[in-house]
Symmetry: C2
Subunit: 339 residues, 2 copies
Amino acid sequence: MNLKQLSKMLELSQTTVSRALNGYPEVSEETRRRVMDAAKRHGYRPNPSARRLATGKAGMIGYVLPTGAAVDIDPHFVEFLSGLGDYARGHELDLVLSPADAAEEETTYRRVVANKQVDALYISAPRRADRRIALVHQLGIPFIVHGRSEGLDFDYPFIDIDNEGAFHDATRLFVQLGHKRVGLINGDDTQTFAIFRERGVSRALASSGLALEPRHVRSAVMTEENGYRAARSLLEAADAPTAIVCSSLHMSLGVVRAVRDLNLSIPGDVSLISHDDVFPWLKPENFPVPLSTTRSSIRSAGARVAERLAARISGLEDGARGEVWPVDLVVRGSIAGAR
Amino acid sequence: MNLKQLSKMLELSQTTVSRALNGYPEVSEETRRRVMDAAKRHGYRPNPSARRLATGKAGMIGYVLPTGAAVDIDPHFVEFLSGLGDYARGHELDLVLSPADAAEEETTYRRVVANKQVDALYISAPRRADRRIALVHQLGIPFIVHGRSEGLDFDYPFIDIDNEGAFHDATRLFVQLGHKRVGLINGDDTQTFAIFRERGVSRALASSGLALEPRHVRSAVMTEENGYRAARSLLEAADAPTAIVCSSLHMSLGVVRAVRDLNLSIPGDVSLISHDDVFPWLKPENFPVPLSTTRSSIRSAGARVAERLAARISGLEDGARGEVWPVDLVVRGSIAGAR
DNA sequence: AGGGCATTTCAAAGCGCTTTGGCTGCTTTC
DNA sequence: GAAAGCAGCCAAAGCGCTTTGAAATGCCCT
């Protein structure tokens, strides 16, 4: 059932039918009703390819998926996706993933935009002065950044959590508990979220006259193994930190293992606060010692990104508004006062 | 730069240019070269929307993403996706995710197919007599199932790992080590993979005159927490199993925690073999006691699915060939002989 | 009665590609 | 030397929608 058939059936022109269906004002209410009715009854759905060709609108949002032999997609992505899906479902929005490795990333963005494959796209895990943001900004397609970049000479719309604030608060708590040597086990420090987190820790220490020693900082891709290595090297040193802030629950698994391997204990010998993105499959309260966390649901962020993307597509939102979400500090058994 | 402009520039008809570009034979080699050259020089890329409208081919593969308040996307998905991306990248294949909750799942499949949004799709995490498979089969779009269903009265193409064989071998090893009471901590048993795994355990026990006691079986969504609960209830019982086969690394985290909480030890009091889908962020060799596993990279499966999907789209593959991959049994410190 | 105007409808021209069917010349065949 | 075959090219007709520009209709007003 296509437009032609439907309009013939109604003895109306394609124009009128099309307009009736798309809510244009120059159609009488009666006609509109008649058309809507018939459309529903015959299960008419406009062919998206045709519509796209005619309008240039795709009805999809895009994401350039980083892949490649050396690249592992983060499990965070799956939670973000859940959120995105929560919104997209029910809004007739599909998501197009265009896999690309680092070398062809720019080409891929250009292709996706030039082909009008999607109406908007989002960018995640931004780095400093992220080239993707500059590119997409310049290409003029609606977009939202999940996270923030720095050192870009223009504003752009984003949603991010208050990483600096979260890690500041966590660290301040440690300081209040009397800890002097605080360590940071961070994610990949080419990512801005890691930069912000480090800044938060530094700032909190600084405001008590303490400093974040470079030798107390580790940063790496957030796996259990890297968490283990980082914790071990931190804790085996002469003036080991007595408290650690860690960027991810997966890394924290490694931290816990390292602490145990060294015959130390949490929180007896070392206090631990981890960031928690709220994974259904791994919860901080279920760690051997329940983990204190800075918590922020990455799934909610996904839903919000989808929502704003939809708003931008339909012109309800524009400008470069950045949105920064506060982060909860949840205290559990993994922290104690310094001895 | 579109076809019209390009052909005008070359003083050829659109027909000829189009044919030259798409490798049709009725174009002289010289003309083809000339066209190809000009196309490359001017960076001509056919508009996919137009092409799609004309051919009905989308150049994309689809996946209906289960979402909904009660649904969590599995972290396995992210690894599968990595594999899919590995192949898709470099083959100009994009992936369309259409989020749908259980209620609108069927509608969504129908929509995606009717709209010709994608050329092929894949289905994962199949259940017994999976309705999605029947539906997609009937709709006549190329597809591949990742996993297998049972109780369907037709054949279909799939790729799956030998879940039964893997768990059979794991269990047989336990039996050979003298274990009489083997427990199974399985994933959601409405999924066929879980059914196959249980079957593997049963069969191995049966062939030594033993039986898999229903009270030694647990099954739930594969989270750390569920692993903990399952292990606890298994191990606190009177005739607790002395060996456990577990369906996932995330669950195994919980098992390990439960064992510790109960003041037991691995492998002293209980031996453990887990299935390992090969996640970059969590490795069995880095468990407190290195975990023996049945290992199969879900990422490779993703790549293979993409490859076969591409083959089916271009008509290089058809029929209902199922592919079953053997699974490695990797022995590490988590198993010991029964006392 | 006729002009002005708003409302409602329509025919037709795109959107940019593929593909059908046909038209040239040129070579082959008997 | 005419018939047949073929390689190479083209014009035009789709694909199914949106949108432009114009026409028809009905109403009010002078």
